[in-house]
Symmetry: C2
Subunit: 367 residues, 2 copies
């Protein structure tokens, strides 16, 4: 019942403590830290006494006592044991709402049904917090700020549960998004699991090609960046969402087969047009990704060349600030073998022309 001012947005905590968090890894400890920061009482537990004591030392909450009567329990344990832990918590705390934060929801729900759990008090959720590695020591109060937090609310009887989990998400600075379990799993199959497999398979083709990689540009870097993800964890995530991911991969595989056939007969009638059509549909697909702040607006890009010295980038951005030009997005691109960098600055189209001429006037080199 400690509702102090929130560090995130200046409002009081909506969540009423104690919140019981089962599993004190990165997500669990970050939720605990975030709630503690706004004065909510947090009870932590973990199968590993060492992990638990680390998270408590870290300030993510206190040890459980027999008298704790949590309204809300958050299960943040590895995906393969999530359902069993949720079922156990539902039994141990017959008045509490239980949520989990596993990145695949259908598999957890199916296992709960198989276990005969009281799912009227369970509401699966998934904070899109991005970071899949690291334990409590990587935890941060701000991990969820500005991220979507999916709530899988199927039944009207879950209104109370939904309110509790929504409050939790809001208190941690996240944006609640409500979907059915199936919608969630199909959505992440497309926007998270498909790109992961694509990046991994693309990057797997790069090994043993050091000569060719000398010609690497930003395009390959972008396309393969996700491939640095943890292999064991991702094998587990993909397995838990196998059907929707297989469906996406098969559609991609069909497109790839058709594209190869067109390219193999590139000089035959209509084949170049067919390839161009694939690429044009890709143009539309990438344009449909929401931009900053959830809008699908496109920005104008200004590219500046900067010397590779400390403070040079700051000087450019200070100039932008003095000129009153907000930077909507930015990327720093490096030139292999060179001591200069390219900075791509996305600005609102309305200010792009003035921004360019003002920057040129201040002596910046624009590409």
């Amino acid at each position: 019942m400690n509702a102090q001012a929130s560090a995130h947005d200046g409002v009081r905590a909506r969540t009423i403590g104690p919140v019981r968090i089962v599993g004190s890894g990165l997500l669990g400890a970050s939720i605990g830290l975030g709630l503690r920061e706004i004065g909510v009482d947090v009870v932590l537990t973990d199968a590993s006494p060492a992990a638990l004591s680390l998270a408590i030392d870290y300030g993510a909450g206190r040890a459980a006592t027999p008298d704790d009567a949590p309204q809300l329990i958050v299960v943040s344990v590895p995906p393969d044991v999530t359902a069993q832990v949720v079922a156990d918590e539902l039994v141990a705390f017959p008045d509490a709402v239980v949520t989990d934060v596993a990145s695949v929801k259908g598999a957890v729900r199916a296992q709960l049904d198989a276990l005969g759990a009281d799912v009227s008090r369970y509401l699966g959720s998934h904070p899109m917090a991005g970071r899949e590695r690291g334990g409590a020591i990587m935890a941060r109060t701000d991990l969820f700020v500005g991220r979507p937090w999916v709530l899988c609310a199927e039944q009207a009887t879950q209104a109370d549960a939904q309110l509790l989990v929504e409050s939790l998400a809001l208190d941690l600075g996240a944006t609640p998004v409500t979907m059915t379990t199936a919608e969630h799993d199909e959505s992440v199959a497309l926007v998270s699991h498909l790109p992961q497999v694509v990046a991994s398979l693309l990057a797997a083709r790069l090994t043993g090609n050091d000569d060719a990689l000398r010609l690497t540009g930003q395009g390959l870097r972008d396309t393969s960046r996700l491939a640095a993800s943890d292999p064991e964890l991702w094998a587990q995530i993909l397995s838990a969402n196998a059907d929707p991911v297989v469906a996406q991969l098969e559609l991609l595989s069909n497109d790839l087969t058709a594209f190869i056939a067109a390219l193999r007969n590139a000089e035959a009638s209509g084949m170049k047009r067919q390839m161009a059509q694939f690429i044009a549909v890709g143009n539309r697909g990438v344009a449909s990704i929401p931009g900053k702040h959830g809008s699908a607006d496109r920005f104008s890009t200004i590219t500046a060349i900067i010397d590779d010295t400390p403070g040079e980038l700051a000087r450019l951005l200070t100039d932008m600030g003095e000129l009153g030009i907000n930077i909507e997005d930015m990327r720093l691109e490096h030139s292999p073998g060179a001591q200069v960098g390219f900075v791509e600055l996305a600005v609102l189209p309305a200010v792009a022309e003035r921004a360019s001429s003002d920057l040129l006037q201040r002596g910046w080199r624009l590409v």
Copy 2:
């Protein structure tokens, strides 16, 4: 013979004018502008009188006269007419070396052989300048600074030609890289054409999925970014390099088929291990991409949270500059629906710990 101080690196121009540039689009006009900047005489020509006069007005060179006796001719016309133009120039200027800048080299060479051109004076090249769109109006003197510029030098008799093209690349600030034609085409099939197709086919799957795209994170944005490329141009580029690209796409297709089979039987013995192995090979592939300045060193990453207001990013980078910490790479990530951004700063591992504690001390929020 105007060898003034170079704006790029303070040395004198190596290239001796006049250089004749055929085709005044983005690449041709940028080469002209870059050479003019260091005082080299540039003669421009273009099949389109309007495009030519625009490039001349822009300062990329002067109109040709009957008395011009260029040592070096640069052909920068669309890929499908490159070979014919190169052949014509070799005939018209029997003492000159001719190079081209098309992004696929084997097809041009095969067409030159078929045309019976004097290839002893031809040396194909490819500046990896990244930008595939835009005409003379997009031209910049700095387009090639720090970029690899591939020279396809097969024969010892081409030593003179190689010296001339290498000097051109160096004068424009590029890094010359020598390869055979086959090596070049196989290299760009892997590092440029394969990621283009992968990104386009991935992005093509996104259309009509606006609900799912609300959950988009940085991973999908990165993986699909290349998909914004020009469809007609890319259909032409891929067709001109069909064999090496088909070979890469088929290897990828085989991997994809194997991955789908493993995922479809994810619960069978050894299948999760097989998927994890694919992802682990991807880990190694992405780690083998050269980093900044051509090295494969990895950097430590610090992620800071900043408010979305003008000047906030500049303030962070000014602090980094004051702390004497060089930023090796940087990305700005946006939070859909939120008014904050995440800045990922790559720094040398040796300074990472100090950088984090110094930034925290200055009040920055780190993730």
